[in-house]
């Protein structure tokens, strides 16, 4: 099975809020220099899912990213985890957030790579959290699509998957080729390995321009998302402390669960 995983390099979502500022236009968040760039966490789950499928069923795993040259680090991370190949589509100064344009470009790159049975993505990127690239990409590729997957089993050319819902999960079957977005409940991503690091030491990651994949920048506007960014701000964090008690630890736990459910936190 040939699997392609789309990965995005993002500012570390675990970095403290104080490390981020707004730019003058109010449309961009600027991370401090000390904030590391990492693979978007759900994308790491997607890489791990791909590697597990490969280990069980054979095939190849390719990681693909759209971004500046710095995004090569995200692709190296995937390779260090065990991916076979990595490709970067260089996309500087593309408008963000514009998931339709991103999906269109990635789909064209996937068509150029060819012979892909399964595309995996994280359910949403850790910067904009929109979760739209996967379904838009499936549309451009004319692949089946299922989102928020937390289990994948393979039966020849059919996948049986569990899809998370608000109060449980659905079991669905989908035929290949398909695009799936995965959620973190699916696995714990493996660490990189010594062998993986050595593989990337001398690695040259193929870098494709938009013209290499047959995309004319002038037509991107046709695919652009009509969404308008109204306001972007760093929320003020307010801390409230509520003590939830009970006569016994079990009572306290029940009270806490009820409270969290009423606030739709769980």
């Amino acid at each position: 099975m040939n699997i392609l995983v789309c990965v995005k390099q993002v500012p570390d979502p675990e970095a403290p809020l104080t490390q981020f500022t707004m730019d003058a236009s109010g449309t961009k968040i600027i991370p401090a220099v000390s904030v590391a760039s990492v693979v978007s966490p759900f994308d790491e789950n997607a890489i791990e899912a791909a590697l597990q499928l490969k280990e069980t069923h054979g095939g190849k795993v390719t990681v693909l990213s759209l971004g500046s040259l710095a995004s090569q680090e995200a692709l190296k991370r995937g390779t260090r985890m065990g991916a076979d190949d990595a490709i970067l589509v260089e996309g500087n100064d593309l408008p963000e957030p514009d998931p339709q344009v991103t999906a269109f470009i990635l789909a064209e790159a996937i068509k150029k790579i060819g012979d892909i049975d399964l595309v995996l993505c994280g359910r949403q990127a850790a910067d904009w959290d929109q979760g739209q690239v996967g379904c838009a990409m499936a549309d451009y590729l004319d692949f089946s699509y299922i989102s928020i997957v937390n289990k994948i089993d393979v039966f020849d050319k059919i996948l049986r998957i569990n899809r998370l819902t608000e109060d449980g999960y659905e079991i669905m079957e989908v035929s290949l080729p398909a695009v799936l977005t995965v959620t973190n409940e699916i696995n714990q991503p493996r660490l990189t390995t010594v062998a993986g690091i050595l593989k990337t030491t001398k690695m040259k990651i193929p870098t494709w321009s938009l013209s290499d994949i047959g995309v004319d920048p002038l037509i991107l506007a046709e695919h652009s998302n009509p969404m308008e960014l109204k306001k972007l701000y760093i929320p003020e964090v307010q801390v409230e402390c509520q003590i939830v008690g009970g006569e016994t630890p079990e009572d306290a736990a029940l009270s806490l669960v009820g409270l969290l459910r009423s606030k739709k936190i769980i």
């Binding site: 190296k76 660490l191 390995t193 010594v194 690091i197 050595l198 990337t200």
Partner: protein, 394 residues
């Protein structure tokens, strides 16, 4: 803590690997293994995970599953591991250090037998057994009197040797699969020139681990007492198939000092980070205690000492990686790092106030772990060695 060393992409990747490994496989167990009975506390699962990703055998030759990692890479990784727990860090770095005796001096047959086992078996480790109850520093100073130094009895037979005696304080004693045992084959020569090394697998009849030392710090890092009762060693298990040579020295000499100093600096950094966080949160006198000059001044000095020690250790490692062995620099690294870790951990304890000595907080463990370096990395032995080197004509 910002790194001002220019690391290569590869070194940064190893640094990240070590950091993530420590968070995932060491942090959850560190406090527990420190408190357990020393006979039960060895972190086998952590070791298996380290083997799985190639960390345990990092320094071995490529044909034996390693990458021949250079000194700076090893220091960077050790620092990250020790930041989370020094005992797990030392377990892994010992797996890099001791097999070097086989790499440098072993015959091809010995390397194939024992280094292949390191490569293939996740829990296979090698220990080096020198110290005896009556002879410790005598083995290392060096001491030229023939009456000084280890006394493990070695009798030659037609096709091998018989060993009798006791070793103690042996690192990884009780958990290692192979012991490189030092014994005198020439009692008329000083210990450095009259000692041979014998490869003793743990299942050898007559060999036993008679005690597991219970230490104040590094508690989960095993140090064992070994007994040899008519232990037969065939001649093909004489290291290098030759007698009477010193296994120390060579291109990687100085690594022992760097291993200890990078471990010490990892502990120091952990103590500093803990103290800094506490000082920002703890309110006394109407403000965070870091806003009291006595505390902020202490933290400032701790920061300065750590940066100085880290720079010295990493620079020494860089030089060794380039093939520049500088024994004085590596000894200085070990001694300075010891002074830093002792001072920083105790200053951290002071900043934590009464909470510092409570077992539910990590600081008391840092202080206990730091004590090990007094004799291992500093103390009269290393001071004498450094002083002796200074006497040499320029």
């Amino acid at each position: 803590m910002m790194d001002y060393f220019e690391l290569t992409d590869e070194q940064k990747a190893f640094q990240t690997l070590a950091r993530e490994f420590a968070q995932r496989h060491i942090k959850p167990i560190a406090a527990d293994i420190d408190r357990m009975d020393v006979h039960e506390s060895f972190p086998w699962d952590m070791l298996k995970e380290a083997h799985k990703i190639g960390l345990k055998n990092l320094a071995l030759p490529k044909e034996y599953g390693g990458m021949e990692a250079d000194a700076l890479t090893q220091v960077i990784i050790t620092d990250e591991l020790a930041f989370v727990d020094a005992t797990c860090a030392k377990t892994i770095s010992q797996c890099w250090k001791i097999p070097y005796q086989l790499v440098r001096h072993g015959t091809k047959d010995q390397q194939d037998r024992f280094l292949s086992a390191m490569r293939d078996n996740p829990t296979y480790m090698i220990a080096s057994a020198t110290t005896e109850p009556d002879f410790g520093s005598d083995n290392m100073l060096p001491y030229e009197g023939v009456e000084g130094g280890l006394k493990l009895s070695v009798k030659r037979t037609e096709d091998g040797y018989i060993l009798n005696g006791i070793k103690h304080f042996i690192a990884l004693g009780g958990v290692a699969s192979l012991y490189i045992v030092k014994g005198r084959t020439n009692l008329n020569a000083p210990v450095r020139h009259g000692t041979s090394s014998f490869l003793v697998p743990k299942e050898t009849p007559g060999f036993s681990v008679t005690a597991q030392h219970d230490k104040v710090g590094f508690r989960a890092y095993p140090n064992g007492q070994l007994a040899f009762q008519d232990v037969y060693v065939p001649k093909e298990n004489l290291l290098g198939c030759r007698e009477n040579f010193d296994t120390r020295g060579g291109p990687f000499a100085g690594w022992n000092d760097l291993e200890l100093s990078s471990t010490a600096m990892g502990i120091a950094r952990a103590a500093f980070v803990a103290a800094l966080g506490y000082a920002k949160d703890r309110i006394q006198g109407g403000k965070a205690i870091i806003d009291h000059q006595a505390v902020s001044g202490l933290l400032a000095d701790m920061y300065m000492d750590i940066q100085a020690g880290r720079s010295l250790v990493w620079q020494t490692a860089r030089e060794l990686s380039r093939g520049n062995r500088d024994t004085m620099l590596s000894l200085s690294s070990a001694r300075f790092a010891t002074k830093v870790v002792l001072k920083v951990t105790q200053d951290a304890l002071s900043i934590f106030g009464g909470s510092g000595v409570m077992k539910e907080l990590p600081v008391e463990k840092y202080v206990r772990d730091a004590l090990i370096f007094i004799h291992l990395a500093d103390g009269p032995t290393n001071q004498v060695k450094l002083g002796n080197l200074l006497k040499r004509p320029e």
